[in-house]
């Protein structure tokens, strides 16, 4: 544990947790002065190859309001077979099965290296995974064909026992019955009429006789298969049927006249999908996968009318309050999302179209349920095809990298309270002693539901130190947090993962340097960014930026070393040095800037930002730039216009895009065909190197990034130019000289200017 960096890394690997502060200020007042809140990024089901799950039930604290899980931090009296809860100090008896424990014979959960441990528990019947495809048929023939192929392909990726269902929609919504021979049968719904879950179930003939409802669960279970079997069937049984059915899918037959958009009933289709699952498989892992090629144009949830002459809403319209369908549509999808979340199902949205598809309105469906959101130009692109395929990727043990119906319960020691969480989750409204009144993100609860998650799904959880200044914490005592995640593993087992972590307390007045040194600026940047993005969803963009700026200035004031009113004297310690730069790029990022982004794109970016782990999040905030040249091995370079040189090939990874940029000279060489000449094979290798590296990223990332290969002066070079710090612009170009970098035609401030201002403001005695 040489450095905090290593400590942090180790903790992250073991527990999937990164705190903004790794030494905690011991009083409420001090904590608020730290500017960056005490918070953590938690990856609940982080893949742990070295963590074999244990096959028994966790031992719980017997206090009803606590129910913390026995963990290495608990004090254990091996003689009396008692253990003391480290959260509520309740003394508990070990269960009979633990009769044999002793200092040398400890159960796994008491060993320090098992601060994170996973239990497999037997609870309730095991239900197969459910995949319900909701497919838009208002697509171009080519697109539809590609989509059909992808869907057919996906059947082979599903576990044989998984249940699949198919809903198609266009002007109407069709729920396909999969169990019939000889004739394909579907239930059709009008695309303009919202139906209650009850109506939907009645119309699909899913209503059970009232009797069985009263008889309760035991009887329902045997009845379920026949009832739902018409629409949801095990893959192995209807593999061929469904393949044929998908093959026969036709484009929506209703004529679309000139100047109109096709009528697309996305809102109703989703509503029916939700209602179908709600009625048949509540609280079971299920994915509703929506594939849509355009905006909903009718019925509840419509985003734009079918007149092509009225364009779909832009940020400008929204600011002017000119998006007439937005509020209603958003409300519709929110209601659906909440229902879906309540049932433990999730909704994926795969939207492929050149224009917007209404992700802004529909985003909550994915955001609240942990579903995926994928945006592409067409279903007939490798971006979609591979991304979709990757949904069904399998982990090291041959299991899907997805989990369902997770219930995250957070427990804290009494000096801490829980302020909220930001991520793909919904509140379970579990009030308790450790819930703070101040909310950050989704607050007011100590439990959240995450309907779907994968090993990289990461939540930001914010805490509040409630210990009063005048009640010092005993030296050497530690604050503890326990995360209990119950979820349905993709193998359909129920599992519980328990992570218990502890950090030292420190008095900020006397031990500020400890706290400072234990600052995790990366985690802090991401946590602050999440807060900012979360705010941006509901507040005006400029307000959020101002808030961010203020926070940054306050942080610099607090932790910078400077003489008052002397900007040049300003210094930040190493643990804070990168933070302002992150903030600079965050301010420029599409997560906060809507200029040049459509509302859909903003929603898309924010969606991913709110669920990716720290590393990916940082890439999103500040893209990575690698340079390839004859001057040496590939190296990361500054994300700065000065890095753009004629004899370099640049590889930029923004998470959403992989840009390969050939410098001017390189591009000319390539045009001249040197790479094809044997004597310039090294040039060929140089050209190939970034491609290979890019490919590697493309292979692993979900969703697959947009791959852009461009060169100096190419139109697509804008992707690069818009990201780099505009240190050279048309304004200062000549002053800087031409030999290095490429000028960016922008009025944006550069990092240098930003830093100058920051210093000035930080040292100013005025604020």
């Amino acid at each position: 544990m040489a450095t905090y960096l290593e400590f942090i890394q180790q903790n992250e690997e073991r527990d999937g947790v990164r705190f903004s502060w790794n030494v905690w200020p011991s009083s409420r007042l001090e904590a608020t002065r730290m500017v960056v809140p005490l918070a953590c990024l938690l990856t609940p089901v982080k893949e742990r190859l070295d963590l074999p799950p244990v096959q028994y039930e966790p031992v719980l604290c017997s206090r009803p309001t606590c129910k913390a899980v026995l963990n290495p931090l608990c004090q254990v009296d091996y003689r009396t077979k008692l253990w003391a809860c480290n959260f509520c100090f309740q003394r508990n008896q070990f269960p009979p099965a633990y009769a044999g424990i002793s200092e040398v014979n400890q159960p796994a959960e008491l060993m320090p290296q098992f601060s994170t441990i996973e239990y497999i528990v037997q609870r309730g019947p095991q239900t197969p995974l459910i995949f319900l495809y909701v497919v838009d048929t208002c697509l171009e023939e080519e697109d539809l064909q590609a989509l059909k192929e992808s869907l057919q392909m996906s059947l082979s990726l599903l576990p044989a026992s998984a249940l699949v269902g198919l809903i198609t929609f266009g002007r109407m919504v069709q729920v396909h019955e999969l169990s019939c021979e000889g004739i394909s049968k579907s239930y059709v719904f009008r695309g303009t009429k919202d139906l209650t879950a009850k109506q939907i179930q009645d119309m699909l003939g899913l209503s059970r006789p009232a009797v069985s409802m009263q008889q309760g669960r035991p009887l329902q279970t045997p009845e379920q298969p026949p009832i739902s079997s018409r629409f949801l069937q095990p893959v192995h049984k209807i593999d061929m049927n469904l393949t044929d059915l998908l093959g026969e899918l036709q484009r929506d037959p209703w004529p679309v006249t000139q100047g109109k958009r096709p009528l697309r009933s996305t809102g109703v289709a989703l509503s029916i999908a939700v209602g179908l699952l709600e009625g048949t498989f509540p609280n079971t892992g299920a994915r509703i996968m929506l594939f849509t090629g355009g905006p909903p144009t009718q019925g509840p949830g419509m985003v734009v009318g079918d007149e092509l002459k009225t364009p779909i809403r832009s940020w400008h319209d929204i600011e002017k309050d000119n998006a007439r369908f937005m509020k209603k549509a958003t409300k519709h999808y929110e209601t659906l999302a909440n229902r879906t979340a309540a049932n433990g199902h999730c909704i994926d949205i795969y939207a492929c179209a050149l224009d917007q598809t209404g992700l802004l309105e529909m985003k909550c469906c994915a955001n609240l349920t942990g579903g995926h959101m994928v945006m592409g130009d067409s279903f007939n692109t490798s971006l979609f095809k591979q991304t979709f395929q990757r949904v069904f990727n399998k982990g090291y043990n041959g299991e899907f990298r997805m989990a369902f119906g997770a219930n995250l319960d957070v427990k804290t020691s009494r000096e801490l309270k829980i302020a909220g969480a930001i991520g793909p989750c919904v509140s379970l409204n579990a009030k308790g002693p450790c819930v703070s009144e101040n909310e950050l993100g989704i607050g007011g609860t100590s439990q959240w539901k995450i309907c779907s998650l994968d090993p990289s799904t990461t939540l930001a959880i914010y805490f509040e130190v409630v210990n009063q200044h005048n009640a010092p914490i005993p030296q050497g005592s530690r604050g503890a947090v326990q995360f209990v995640t119950q979820y349905q593993h993709s193998s359909t087992e129920k599992r519980i993962r328990v992570t218990t972590i502890a950090r030292n307390w420190a008095d900020a007045q006397t031990q500020l340097q400890h706290i400072e040194a234990a600052f995790d600026q990366e985690a802090a940047a991401v946590l602050m960014a999440r807060l900012g993005v979360y705010r941006a969803e509901s507040e005006e963009g400029p307000d959020v930026l101002r808030w961010l700026d203020r926070q940054l200035i306050r942080l610099c004031q607090k932790f910078g070393q400077y003489n008052k009113d002397d900007p040049n004297s300003f210094r930040l310690s190493e643990s804070f040095s990168l933070y302002p730069q992150f903030m600079f790029h965050l301010r420029r990022s599409p997560f906060l800037q809507v200029f040049n982004n459509s509302p859909d794109e903003s929603s898309y970016y924010r969606h991913h930002f709110a669920r990716q782990d720290l590393t990916q999040s940082l890439i999103m905030i500040q893209p990575i730039l690698y340079a390839y040249s004859f001057h040496g091995p590939p190296e990361p370079v500054l994300l700065d216009s000065s890095s753009i040189l004629p004899d370099r090939i640049l590889l930029m990874d923004t998470f959403f895009q992989i840009v390969i940029y050939l410098g001017e000279t390189i591009a000319q060489w390539q045009k001249a065909g040197y790479q094809d000449m044997p004597e310039y094979e090294n040039f060929k290798h140089l050209l190939q190197a970034p491609l290979d590296d890019g490919q590697e990223i493309l292979q692993t990332r979900f969703p697959m990034p947009r791959y852009i290969h461009t060169e100096h002066g190419g139109s697509q070079a804008r992707f690069l130019l818009s990201k780099v710090n505009p240190s050279q612009t048309h304004n200062n170009l000549y002053a800087w000289g031409q030999e290095s970098g490429a000028p960016i035609l922008t009025d944006d401030v550069s990092l240098q200017v930003f830093m100058d201002h920051l210093k000035k403001l930080a040292v100013s005695s005025a604020s």
Partner: protein
């Protein structure tokens, strides 16, 4: 009706009968007495053959005579009155029955003669015979003509005996009578009486030489009488075809008695006129008076009464009793002169007779006093009252041979029961349009006075026999048809070209319109365009125009229509095997969709839907490997789930369709769903057509009351307790207005709905039928559908319904000459304004009845014109206009009106009017209104047209002499007077059915055709002669067939020869005949073949496949059968023909007094 109407008749007669009985044969006595008539009749039946003979006019005479005897009242129907009179007498005859025998004995020869006549025309014969006896009394006149009388008497007797049989004849006679009616009968008598003898002989002569020969004689005889009569009538008569006819008949009658009865009406009267002149003289003075008697007789024709009088007379002297009736008569008679004039046409003769009668009358007068007695006298002899069978036969023989050429204005076409060819020479064929009268009163006052409704029954797309050519299709290119600028009437043969052909004057509104340059043509010296014969629209009554885009919805040429088959797959439908049956049938039936002209394949597209509580649409696009089913559960808000692939071309999608039809029964084989929806089904079809932007037809196969939660959900509201209350009308009204609105939407889209119902219980036809009805669709109902027994009927109906010619999205407008206007419409359609009849679909069987009212004066010179223009989309999607033109005469004399009426059409109108009335008024009110209107019609005739005669005489216009019998049938129909076994659904079903019927259908529906199968000539193609619908006409040794357009009954008498049973049913005895047979077994013997060919032929004539029911005499099913013997008293309280006639007479007398 001297007969004193019903009430009286029965008893009174009965009483008298006793007396008569003596005369009459026992049988008669029996009959007359108790009113048991039937049984008695039955007995008579036995005699049938004989009867026929008796039937002859003679009967009438006798009746006359009788009347005097028993029922003084003689009816004097008008000329026909004679017949009627005769009728009266006829009845009397029964009484006299005894006499007949006697007479028969005594006057065998005479009888024979008569009988012959009778057969032929002479119904009178009988009366005569009787008459003689009786007459003496009644007919004092006769006495005078004693010589004749005797003759007549004999005949009369015969008649009596024969009555039953004769009845038919009588009816015939009656017909004749009716025609010439008053006169006829009267005359005859007269003739008889006076010239009688002579005449009589003629009769015989006539026999051999059917009417005509006789006629002449008659005329001759008549001639005299006419004198007075002649005046107006004669002349007029000749012109009228009808009259002529009558005349002819007369002859026949004459022979019989001739004069009176048969001719009675018609012949005599009309003829008389002509000839009449002469007669009058002879008869005149005296006659008239006597006529009174005669009148009775003569009047008898119409007037049933006369008979009574006669009896009165006869008995008469005892007669007084009859008197009631008589009473009046006498007085009237006196006035005869006047009468003669009026009755004339026919009357001429009548008068003649009357005079004679007069003589008799005198006696009658006495009767008159006796009035009271009349009633007692007894009932009318059924044979003496106008017989539909006779009328039909006469018309058939007189008019069936020559083509009906439509060139002349105001021609009365042959009856619907007559087979005839039509040659279109400027007026529409009667197959397209029939009118209640072909001579319209010039003023509304006249029209009101007569109370004869002016109506046309239009069947715009009627099927023509193969010998006639379809309307030519005229294509005027882009400019479209030439029309009047003001009233928009279409170019037709009556448009007048002026100014050398540069302009034409509209024949409807007189507006002058420029002839478009491309249409210009020079006129020849007669003012006709030289291309007159090249252009159908200038030379024909019916033709079609190709419509331009201006005539199309949304200014777009229509797409070919579509057929959508919508099948109920609820538990009942599946279990009964119906679903499988339909699916199997559709597989082959789809090859027979209607095609236009010589197109290779039908342009019609098809679609399929099944439903129970939810709807299942099927995608049968040809590119699919297997059909796709789409379930729509949102029945509250129906929509069509697919567009492409729902409506397909049969040949292109054949394999998919076949696969679908194979699978439907399997898919629902295990269904447990019993609830159904209905309105959403129609909505679905409607939406489908909307989406496809075409018109079309839905074929819905439905089994139960739609009680599932959905729009248009119905509840069971069947409540028999409402019958005969003010709320009865609610049974005919729809439960909810929902369906009316739906129908409106359907019409707007051109969505026609045909509904096939298979109920096992009440399913509210009144409500379910709203949409089919208002969209011009049809309803077919198969109660308690069973595969084995009903499948043939259903499949045949379905096949025909699918294959028949049909037009879509139709709008019909009837334009008329200034002066009259179409004011009311009856039929299956929807009207959004007061002039346009809109029909989503219109097939070749659908008929619209249009009523006209005056709004100004018409002129005799120009007549009145009708133009019916039907805009529709053909089955290939071509927009067309079908035009029918008809020119009618106008008159200032009521007599002309009455002479040119058509009773069948009138009944068609009255039935539709009444059937609509039940929606808003209590049934009793409707019935009373009907009776009242008819009484007014007849009273008006009596008052203004018939020759003066005793008020006790019932005088009917020749053209309307069947009005009472037919009207009675209407009144007794299930809708207006339901029996206990008739369900509410049946009534609603019948009500809607009748509303779209044409004249031929209403004719047979109300007065079913009863054929003695055992009389069929195995070797010829012809049908056996029909007999009257009365139980007394049935012989227990025979097998009969009765058809009314919906059902065929085969009635088997208990003592039918075993051989026949074996031949027909393949079983050895009566007891082994199964009455669950739905078809006759196919046996290889001439009798079986013949019967089956008859059945097949009848089936072929009707638009619906009739249900075959085997009825064994004295079996429980017989009750059902008896319901259709419409001349008898019905179990539900309907009056017998005789009773009703008497009642009618009473009503008329009340109106007159």
């Amino acid at each position: 009706m001297s007969v004193n109407q019903q009430a009286h008749t029965g008893p009174p007669y009965g009483q008298p009968q006793p007396g008569y009985q003596g005369y009459q044969q026992p049988a008669y006595g029996g009959q007359s007495l108790p009113g048991v008539p039937r049984s008695q009749y039955g007995a008579y039946n036995g005699p049938m053959p004989e009867y026929q003979q008796p039937v002859p006019p003679q009967g009438y005479f006798p009746s006359l005579g009788f009347p005097s005897k028993g029922s003084p009242v003689s009816f004097n129907s008008d000329s026909s009155s004679l017949a009627p009179n005769f009728i009266g007498s006829l009845r009397a005859p029964p009484t006299s029955g005894a006499p007949p025998p006697a007479s028969g004995a005594s006057h065998p020869s005479g009888h024979l003669a008569y009988s012959q006549f009778e057969h032929g025309d002479v119904q009178n014969g009988i009366p005569a015979s009787a008459a003689p006896m009786q007459r003496p009394p009644a007919s004092q006149p006769f006495l005078p003509g004693s010589g004749s009388t005797p003759v007549s008497q004999p005949s009369a007797f015969q008649q009596y005996g024969p009555p039953p049989a004769s009845v038919q004849q009588l009816s015939n006679h009656m017909a004749g009578m009716t025609i010439g009616t008053a006169t006829a009968s009267a005359p005859p008598p007269a003739g008889l009486g006076y010239g009688p003898p002579t005449s009589v002989p003629p009769v015989s002569g006539s026999f051999s030489p059917p009417g005509s020969g006789l006629y002449t004689p008659y005329s001759a005889t008549q001639g005299p009488p006419p004198t007075s009569v002649p005046q107006g009538l004669p002349v007029a008569q000749p012109p009228f075809p009808g009259q002529t006819v009558s005349t002819q008949r007369l002859p026949t009658q004459v022979p019989g008695f001739a004069p009176p009865p048969p001719s009675t009406g018609v012949g005599p009267s009309s003829y008389p006129p002509t000839t009449g002149a002469p007669r009058p003289p002879a008869m005149p003075g005296p006659p008239l008076p006597g006529q009174t008697l005669a009148g009775p007789p003569s009047s008898q024709p119409n007037h049933v009464t006369s008979p009574p009088p006669p009896s009165a007379l006869a008995g008469l002297h005892p007669g007084p009793p009859m008197s009631g009736l008589h009473g009046p008569p006498p007085p009237t008679h006196p006035p005869q002169p006047g009468y003669q004039m009026q009755q004339n046409g026919s009357f001429g003769q009548v008068r003649g007779p009357q005079p004679n009668y007069g003589g008799a009358y005198p006696g009658t007068p006495n009767y008159g006093s006796p009035p009271g007695p009349p009633p007692p006298p007894k009932r009318l002899d059924p044979d003496s009252i106008p017989s539909p069978i006779q009328v039909i036969e006469d018309d058939r023989s007189n008019r069936g041979s020559e083509p009906f050429v439509t060139g002349a204005r105001g021609q009365v076409p042959p009856l619907v029961t007559t087979n005839f060819l039509v040659k279109d020479q400027g007026n529409a064929s009667p197959r397209y349009i029939r009118c209640t009268s072909y001579n319209i009163p010039c003023t509304s006052d006249m029209a009101k006075q007569s109370q004869v409704p002016l109506a046309a029954v239009i069947k715009p797309l009627a099927t023509l026999p193969p010998e006639e050519t379809l309307p030519y299709l005229v294509d005027h290119g882009e400019s479209g048809p030439v029309r009047c600028n003001r009233c928009k009437a279409y170019m037709c043969p009556f448009m007048q070209f002026i100014e050398g052909g540069r302009r034409f004057q509209c024949c409807f509104c007189s507006c002058v319109t420029e002839v478009p340059p491309h249409y210009f043509q020079h006129l020849d010296h007669t003012g006709k365009r030289v291309d007159f014969y090249d252009r159908p629209e200038l030379s024909l009554g019916s033709y079609e125009f190709l419509a331009t885009v201006d005539y199309c919805k949304n200014n777009k040429f229509p797409s070919p229509p579509a057929f959508i088959f919508m099948i109920d797959v609820s538990y009942n439908a599946v279990k009964s095997g119906l679903v499988r049956l339909i699916c199997e049938e559709l597989k082959s039936l789809l090859d027979y969709l209607p095609r236009e002209g010589n197109m290779e394949e039908s342009a019609i597209r098809v679609g399929f839907v099944t439903y129970n509580k939810v709807l299942h649409f099927y995608n049968v696009k040809s590119s699919l490997a297997q059909p796709q089913m789409m379930v729509v559960s949102d029945v509250a808000d129906m929509f069509v789930p697919l567009l492409d692939g729902f409506l397909v071309n049969v040949n292109e999608s054949r394999t998919v369709i076949t696969s679908l039809l194979d699978q439907i029964p399997e898919m629902f084989a295990d269904t447990r769903e019993t609830e159904t929806v209905f309105a959403p089904v129609i909505q679905a079809g409607l939406e489908a057509l909307k989406a496809a932007e075409c018109a079309g037809k839905l074929f819905i196969f439905h089994t139960s009351l739609p009680i599932a939660e959905a729009p248009g959900k119905l509840k069971n509201r069947d409540d028999r307790k409402l019958i005969n209350t003010d709320k009865e009308k609610t049974l005919f009204q729809p439960q909810t207005s929902f369906y009316n609105n739906l129908a409106k939407d359907c019409v707007a889209q051109g969505c026609c709905v045909d509904l096939f119902l298979f109920p096992n219980q009440y399913l509210d036809v009144a409500t379910l039928g709203v949409v089919p009805y208002q969209t011009g669709g049809s309803i077919y109902k198969y109660a308690y559908f069973q595969l084995e027994t009903d499948q043939d009927r259903f499949l045949n109906d379905l096949r025909r319904d699918v294959q028949k010619e049909v037009g879509f999205d139709a709008v019909m407008r009837v334009r008329t000459s200034t002066g009259i206007r179409a004011t009311d419409f009856f039929g299956a359609f929807y009207m959004s304004n007061t002039t346009d009849v809109e029909m989503a679909g219109l097939d070749c069987d659908k008929t619209i009845t249009v009523e006209f009212k005056h709004d100004d004066k018409l002129s005799e010179d120009s007549g009145a014109l009708l133009q019916c223009a039907l805009l529709y989309t053909s089955c290939a999607g071509q927009r067309r206009l079908r035009i029918h033109n008809l020119s009618l005469n106008c008159c200032t004399q009521l007599a002309d009106l009455y002479r040119n009426c058509e009773t069948d059409t009138l009944i068609n109108y009255l039935a539709k009017y009444a059937y609509r009335g039940v929606l808003s008024s209590p049934v009793k009110t409707v019935r009373d209104a009907l009776i009242n209107q008819c009484a007014q019609i007849l009273a008006c005739y009596r008052k203004n047209c018939a020759s003066p005669s005793s008020a006790g005489q019932l005088i009917l216009p020749e053209c309307m002499k069947l009005l009472p019998v037919y009207l009675n049938c209407v009144l007794k129909s299930d809708v207006l007077q339901p029996g206990p076994e008739v369900t509410t659904d049946d009534r609603a079903y019948i009500r809607q059915l009748v509303t779209s019927m044409d004249v031929a259908e209403t004719n047979v529906f109300f007065y079913p055709r009863l054929l003695p199968l055992t009389k069929a000539d195995v070797d010829s193609d012809s049908l056996p002669a029909a007999i009257r619908n009365s139980e007394e006409r049935l012989s227990k040794g025979d097998i009969y067939l009765l058809e009314n357009g919906l059902n065929i009954f085969v009635w088997v008498g208990v003592s039918v020869q075993q051989g026949l049973i074996q031949n027909l049913f393949g079983v050895s005895s009566f007891g082994q005949i199964s009455n669950t047979l739905s078809a006759l077994p196919v046996l290889e013997n001439p009798f079986s073949k013949k019967v089956r060919s008859i059945v097949d032929m009848l089936q072929g004539q009707r638009s619906r496949y009739m249900k075959l029911i085997i009825v064994k005499q004295e079996d429980k099913l017989e009750m059902l059968f008896k319901h259709f013997l419409v001349e008898d008293k019905s179990l539900s309280g309907g009056a017998s023909y005789v009773d009703f006639l008497c009642h009618m007479h009473k009503e008329i007398r009340q109106l007159l007094s």
